[in-house]
């Protein structure tokens, strides 16, 4: 019978009863004594020693198990976030109201990063265009809700035409690029005019679980044929 404790009088000579190691913890083939005093042979297989450096230049998930380090250098040139900078600037835009045009030289202080033109004209509208190009723009009248609009991503230097838009409501739509609505709830569309549909050249991609909701939502239902699940967007998972 194995012993895990030796006591002489009132003195404890040996005590291994508090051993916590088990066979799986100890290298395979090595012997040790367990908490019950019995000799145990370790069963743990040997691990690997990470070596080298993994170079990562694109966003994604990588297995770095075998590498001692990872050198991450993802270029943001094509994915820079462009957004309205501050509420004070937005208030200026709202003050413009109907008929006011902001010159393109003024607009750069509102939209950062790239030479995007923005002009307010006709109500509280917001217009983005791709400079020195054609047919790549989004026009989003938003009726006093400009402060809630954020163009999460717009890439004027790319041939890929899309706008990812997040806002709490839209008045009506006028766009020639794919429109990506990635909010987790249906965005209210406050009105809809028939003739606008003549200028909708792209698709409206929404979260997959909201496709049926959008297709039956007020005013959105008029554009049901353009509403697609986000997972079908050709750049889904890339941008």
């Amino acid at each position: 019978m194995a012993n895990n404790k030796v006591v002489l009088g009132s003195v404890t000579i040996i005590d291994i009863s508090d051993t916590t190691a088990v066979a799986e913890d100890v290298a395979q083939g090595k012997e040790f004594y367990g908490a019950d005093g019995n000799k145990v042979v370790g069963t743990a297989s040997g691990g690997i020693t990470p070596t080298g450096t993994l170079a990562i230049s694109q966003n994604g998930t990588y297995d770095v198990t075998n590498y001692a380090s990872a050198n991450v250098n993802v270029s943001g040139e094509d994915n820079k976030v462009i957004e309205v900078l501050s509420l004070s600037s937005i208030k200026d835009l709202e003050a413009g109201s109907r008929g006011m045009t902001i010159s393109t030289s003024d607009t750069y202080k509102y939209i950062t990063d790239k030479t995007i033109g923005i002009v307010t004209k006709y109500a509280s509208s917001l217009m983005l265009i791709k400079p020195n190009s054609s047919m790549t723009y989004l026009w989003a009248p938003i009726m006093n809700q400009i402060e809630f609009v954020k163009f999460n991503r717009y890439n004027p230097s790319s041939s890929i035409n899309y706008v990812i838009l997040s806002c709490n409501q839209l008045s009506y739509l006028y766009f020639t690029s794919d429109l990506i609505l990635n909010d987790t709830q249906v965005i209210p569309l406050k009105t809809s005019g028939n003739y606008w549909s003549d200028f909708l050249k792209g698709n409206i991609y929404v979260p997959d679980n909201l496709v049926s909701s959008y297709k039956t939502a007020t005013n959105w239902s008029a554009f049901a044929g353009l509403i697609k699940p986000l997972s079908e967007w050709e750049y889904y998972g890339i941008y």
């Binding site: 406050k190 009105t191 200028f199």
Partner: protein, 85 residues
């Protein structure tokens, strides 16, 4: 009073609703205030007229900027409608 008009878009029948006193109408999905509401006829959505006047720039009137107005505005910015994007 809420005005109801039946319209056809594609092969689908829709009901267009709006206030004849230039006020918001309440209801729809998502529920809220709408200047004008177009819904699939089969959904039979009903709206309640409010006393909240629609701001001038939101009122759909004959003076509302037309598609041509917006094209013109874009052309001022150098957008060429004759080119493919």
């Amino acid at each position: 009073m809420i005005v109801k008009e039946e319209i056809i878009i594609g092969n689908e029948k829709f009901i267009k609703q709006y206030s004849n006193k230039q006020c918001y109408i309440k209801g729809g999905f998502p529920e809220g205030l709408y200047v004008l509401a177009i819904d699939l006829a089969e959904l039979q959505r009903e709206y309640e007229e409010t006393d909240i006047p629609i701001e001038d720039e939101e009122t759909p009137t004959e003076d509302e900027a037309t598609a041509e107005d917006y094209q013109s505005a874009l052309e001022e910015l150098g957008v060429n409608f004759n080119e493919e994007g």
